[in-house]
């Protein structure tokens, strides 16, 4: 015992600090820099606080006087309901084709299981990134100029949008799989497709189903706007009524959109929860 105490006394004093000079200093400097930039941006915007706060009562006033009461008769009209069904169809078709295309693309774009890292991986990545980088409204405008007004343009725009949206989530999910079974299937001499079907797909099937439903949910939200740019569906009515300043009708349409999106979200949330339990 005596020896031990002598030894500890002889040892140099150990010191420990959470703050380590280069790394911690850099971290704090970065955080400070971001805050400074935010402060500068706000100052640059020259926000007049009283004007911002004053906007809310005015918004309420305008809503109360011009948009109230919503024109319920307009949205219960057969033509309008038909357009709602069209919107739903577009979102389902776009979601379906988008998901169908994005699964192989995600396979290529998943670094761990891609067919070739030199060619397939950058190709898959690029395809998904291109679909993502352009907003769905821009895609609609592009397809409308090529194909003309109507549902086809809208459906294609939604498909591309879904490829970007689902492809990214799918490939992230694929990159997180356990590589053990993949290795095992490769070692029995299985080909790439067999490895994908037997080792990869079972691991991601549940997550993919959830993502597919979520994709449809988001596609439906996008589908309500697609019509605004000539892609077909209820967005067209929104455009017409806003341009003709028929505010009570706009209010009714907006309420319908809010209601439907809410329903879609609740429905997809419920379904996804049910599916997650099957893991």
């Amino acid at each position: 015992m005596a020896v031990a105490t002598v030894e500890t006394a002889a040892e140099p004093r150990r010191s420990w600090s959470r703050y380590r000079h280069p790394s911690s200093t850099i971290r704090f400097a970065v955080i400070l820099g971001i805050l400074a930039f935010l402060g500068w941006s706000i100052a640059f915007l020259n926000i007049d606080l009283s004007r911002v706060l004053g906007a809310f009562p005015r918004l309420a006033e305008i809503l109360a006087t011009r948009y109230f009461p919503p024109d319920v008769g307009y949205v219960t009209d057969a033509d309008f309901i038909h357009s709602v069904v069209r919107t739903l169809e577009m979102s389902l078709l776009g979601g379906f084709f988008g998901v169908a295309c994005s699964i192989p693309l995600a396979w290529l774009a998943a670094r761990n299981i891609t067919i070739s890292r030199r060619i397939a991986y950058p190709f898959g990545r690029l395809a998904i990134m291109c679909s993502r980088s352009i907003h769905e409204t821009i895609w609609t405008i592009l397809f409308v100029t090529v194909l003309g007004f109507g549902m086809l343009a809208g459906t294609l725009a939604l498909t591309v949008f879904c490829i970007g949206f689902a492809g990214k989530l799918f490939s992230d999910e694929l990159e997180a799989i356990d590589m053990g079974p993949v290795e095992a299937m490769r070692s029995v001499g299985a080909g790439p497709l067999q490895v994908f079907q037997y080792a990869v797909l079972p691991q991601v099937r549940v997550a993919f189903t959830g993502i597919a439903i979520y994709t449809w949910d988001v596609a439906f939200r996008a589908a309500t706007v697609v019509g605004f740019f000539g892609g077909g569906g209820m967005g067209w009515y929104l455009k017409r009524t806003t341009q003709q300043l028929e505010s009570t009708r706009v209010a009714a349409i907006l309420l319908v959109i809010i209601g439907l999106v809410l329903l879609a979200e609740l429905g997809s949330g419920w379904l996804r929860k049910r599916i997650a339990r099957m893991r």
Binding site: R186, V188, G189, A190, G191, L193, Y198, R205
Partner: protein, 273 residues
């Protein structure tokens, strides 16, 4: 089949003298070197050994000695950077795409973490051992042949899992899962078995059971085994030959019976404190 050339034909094709089958090693590894990155450290630094058709060969050594890397080089789950691996008379390193897959289906492999597909049934996991022999159409619809299904049932009974055929793989215990792994490897009708730490994830009692079972089945199907294993005692009990590795070099190669304590001390020199 043409691509499944016998050992003798393979040797003739390679310009080597024709031996009696028994005398030709199933696996012959010469001057094997591996580094995972071109600038990174060398994991294997020139390994030579061979495995005969009657061998149950254990590779032992401390963690990080390169045991796993060595085993994985044989079926090219790891790409060697230098040296020669001749398996069934074929140069493993020269094989590409389909040729490599046709070689791999003759090699059974059992893994440390079992590497089963957890969300598939035990039966499907075992059947997946036949994928190398199953065409794309059949495998897409999971329509394995009657013969394969019968073999799978027989093997499952042989490893004692006849009551768990339709359970999901993740519903089984560790020892049971490894038995599924064994059945899957045997589905391939392998001509050599590679075992990568098959018992490390199991408790000592079950480890012994599993190793005993593998030994028994290897004898029954007359399959040579190359097994990398952590538990020296278990290795000495089950294997007839030992290869000792340390830091990428082979330190010992000989019969399990002739192994002395000082041999072990040398292999594990770095770990003795």
């Amino acid at each position: 089949m043409k691509h499944e050339a016998g050992i003798v034909e393979g040797r003739i094709a390679r310009g080597l003298p024709r031996y009696e089958e028994e005398q030709v090693p199933v696996l012959d590894v010469r001057n094997l070197k591996v580094s995972y990155t071109s600038s990174g450290p060398q994991i294997l630094k020139g390994i030579n050994f061979s495995v005969d058709s009657s061998d149950f060969c254990a590779v032992i050594g401390p963690s990080g000695a390169g045991k796993s890397t060595l085993i994985r080089c044989v079926n090219r789950l790891v790409e060697p950077s230098e040296g020669e691996i001749v398996l069934f008379g074929q140069d493993v390193r020269a094989l590409r795409g389909g040729e490599l897959r046709r070689l791999r289906r003759r090699i059974g492999m059992i893994f440390q973490e079992f590497n089963l597909v957890n969300r598939m049934s035990v039966m499907d996991n075992v059947l997946s051992g036949r994928l190398g022999y199953t065409g794309p159409f059949r495998s897409f619809f999971k329509a394995f042949t009657r013969e394969d299904i019968d073999r799978a049932l027989h093997l499952l009974e042989r490893v004692g899992l006849q009551d768990h055929v339709d359970k999901r793989a993740d519903a089984l215990s560790g020892g049971q899962r490894q038995r599924v792994g064994i059945a899957r490897a045997l589905m391939q009708k392998p001509e050599i078995l590679l075992l990568d730490e098959p018992t490390s994830a199991l408790d000592p009692k079950i480890s012994r059971d599993v190793m005993g079972l593998i030994r028994e089945l290897a004898d029954e199907f007359k399959v040579p085994v190359l097994c990398n294993i952590h538990d020296v005692q278990l290795a000495l009990e089950t294997c007839n030959r030992i290869i000792g590795m340390q830091d990428g070099y082979k330190k010992f190669d000989g019969l399990a019976k002739g192994m002395q304590k000082r041999d072990l001390d040398e292999i594990y020199a770095m770990e003795v404190l």
